[in-house]
Amino acid sequence: MNTKDASTAQLMRQIEFLSTLSDDDVAKLAQLASVERHEAGTVLFREGDECEHLYLVVTGRVALEMCMPRRGCTRVLTVGAGEVVGFSALLGGHARAAQAIVSEDTVLIEFPAEQIQQLCDDDHDIGYALMNLVSKALLRRLVATRLQMLDVFGDSKAEGPVSS
C-alpha cells in the first residue's frame, strides 16, 4: 500500500463509524478514497445531480438543504464528524435528494460512486459489511428525522380543566 493510501487508512481507522470494518476492508476502501479539505460555502452537490461520490465527514460540518418554490432552500439537517453524506452513491441509479453545502471548514473522505459500487459487486463480503454500516446509519437518521417531525417542542397552550 502506498503512503497516501496508508495515511488514508489510518484516518479511517480513527472514525468510530468504521470501527467494525476489518483492516483489510479499510485498506481496500482507502485505495479508492481521497481525503479533501473544503472551505465553508463549497457546494458538494445539488438536488437532482447524479451521484458521483459518497462522503464521510472527518471534521467539520455539512448542511443538507431542500428547496421549494416560494420558500426557497431550507436547511433540514446538519451532518458532522463521523457521519456519512450522500448515501445514494452507494446504491447507484439515484439522483441527489438534497443539496449539500459545506458549512464550516471541513475535511472529507470521498469515495467515487462507480468504483465503490464496483468494489461491492466484486467483493460481496465487503459489500455486505458496507451495506450493514450504512443501514445502521440510515436507521439512526430515520429515527432522528421522525423525532424532528414529532415536533416535541410544539406549543401546548391548550385550555385545560386543571390550572397549571
Binding site: 446538519t78 458532522g80 457521519e83 423525532l147 417542542f153 397552550k157
Partner: protein, 284 residues
C-alpha cells in the same frame, strides 16, 4: 387530650414573595425573579439545582416551577416560565412589584457530587434548559473539579433557544456549548437536527468516567439515554428530570405519581436505572 406536639412547619402555607424583575426570554417565556417579603424567610431559603417551588396566585392556583438561577445568589430566585395554563397565563399579566405566594423548595436535585472528577454531559431540550441552568452555574463556579463539560441543547427553531446571550460566557468558563434546532429559518448557520445527533457525534474518550444529565420532553430524553447507553455510559451515571402534574408538592395528593414514584418527593430528578421500566410505559 394529648397536647399538639406536631411539626410546627405547615407545609400548606405559602410565604409572601414579590416580583423583583421580569426578563422576556423567547416567545411565550419569561423569567421572573422573586424575592421574599420577609427578610428572615430570605435568609432561610436555600435550593439545590433541579429543585422546584410552588408559585401561588391566590384565586387562580399554584404551579410547580423549577428554579432556574444560581444557587449561590440568595437575594433573588429566578423562575423561567412558559405560558401554558391558567396560572402561568395570569402570571404573564403581572408586573414588577406584584405579590404572590411561594412554597418550597421541593424535590430531588441534580447529583453534582457524582459529577466530580467525571466528564459531564448536559443534554437539554426546549424549556428543559431552565432546570439545568443552576447546575451550569455550579459547574462554572468550581470548574476544576470536573473533567470535560459539554452542553448539548436542542430547540424547536432558532427563536426557541433559551439564554443565547449567556453561551459565550459559558464557553469562556470552560463548557463546550453546542446547540441545534429541529427546524431552521432562512440563513440559519448552525446545526439542524435533533439533539441526540449531537450526542452521537460527541467524542467520548472515557464513557465509563462520564455522567449525563438530561431534561426536556420525555421522548427526547428517552432517545438521548438510549444513545448514551449504546456509547458506553452506565445506567447509574445517567440522570433524568421527569414531569407529571403537581398539586400539593408534598406527597399527599397523589397526582404526581408515576408508577411507585411520587415525582414531588422521590423526584423530579432520578437516576435512570431506577425509572427505566416506568419510563417505557406510555400511560402509566
Amino acid at each position: 387530650m394529648i397536647a399538639n406536639t406536631g411539626n410546627s412547619i405547615d407545609p400548606w402555607l405559602a410565604k409572601s414573595v414579590r416580583i423583583d424583575r421580569i426578563t422576556s426570554e423567547i416567545d411565550g417565556v419569561a423569567t421572573y425573579d422573586l424575592a421574599f417579603c420577609d427578610p428572615a424567610s430570605a435568609q432561610d431559603y436555600r435550593f439545590l439545582p433541579g429543585q422546584f417551588n410552588m408559585l401561588y396566585l391566590p384565586g387562580v392556583g399554584e404551579v410547580a416551577i423549577s428554579v432556574s438561577g444560581d444557587p449561590n445568589e440568595s437575594s433573588r430566585i429566578p423562575h423561567t416560565i412558559r405560558e401554558a395554563g391558567n396560572v402561568t397565563r395570569s402570571l404573564a399579566r403581572m408586573s414588577v412589584g406584584d405579590s404572590l405566594g411561594l412554597r418550597g423548595p421541593f424535590g430531588t436535585s441534580w447529583p453534582l457530587e457524582s459529577c466530580q472528577e467525571q466528564n459531564v454531559i448536559l443534554v437539554a431540550g426546549g424549556i428543559g434548559l431552565a432546570p439545568l441552568r443552576p447546575t451550569i452555574c455550579q459547574l462554572l463556579a468550581d470548574r476544576d473539579r470536573y473533567g470535560e463539560i459539554s452542553l448539548l441543547y436542542g430547540g424547536r427553531s432558532p427563536d426557541g433557544l433559551l439564554y443565547t446571550a449567556e453561551y459565550d460566557d459559558w464557553i469562556a468558563g470552560g463548557i463546550d456549548v453546542q446547540f441545534t434546532v429541529d427546524r431552521a429559518t432562512a440563513g440559519w448557520p448552525g446545526n439542524v437536527g435533533v439533539v441526540t445527533l449531537l450526542l452521537e457525534r460527541l467524542p467520548l474518550p472515557e464513557p465509563a468516567a462520564t455522567v449525563l444529565l438530561t431534561c426536556g420532553p420525555e421522548v427526547m430524553m428517552w432517545y438521548t439515554i438510549q444513545t448514551a447507553l449504546t456509547r458506553g455510559l452506565a445506567g447509574e451515571s445517567i440522570f433524568v428530570s421527569l414531569e407529571r402534574h403537581m398539586n400539593c408538592a408534598i406527597g399527599l395528593c397523589g397526582h404526581c405519581q408515576m408508577g411507585p414514584e411520587f415525582l414531588c418527593k422521590d423526584g423530579p430528578v432520578f437516576r435512570y436505572d431506577r425509572v427505566a421500566t416506568i419510563m417505557r410505559v406510555d400511560d402509566l
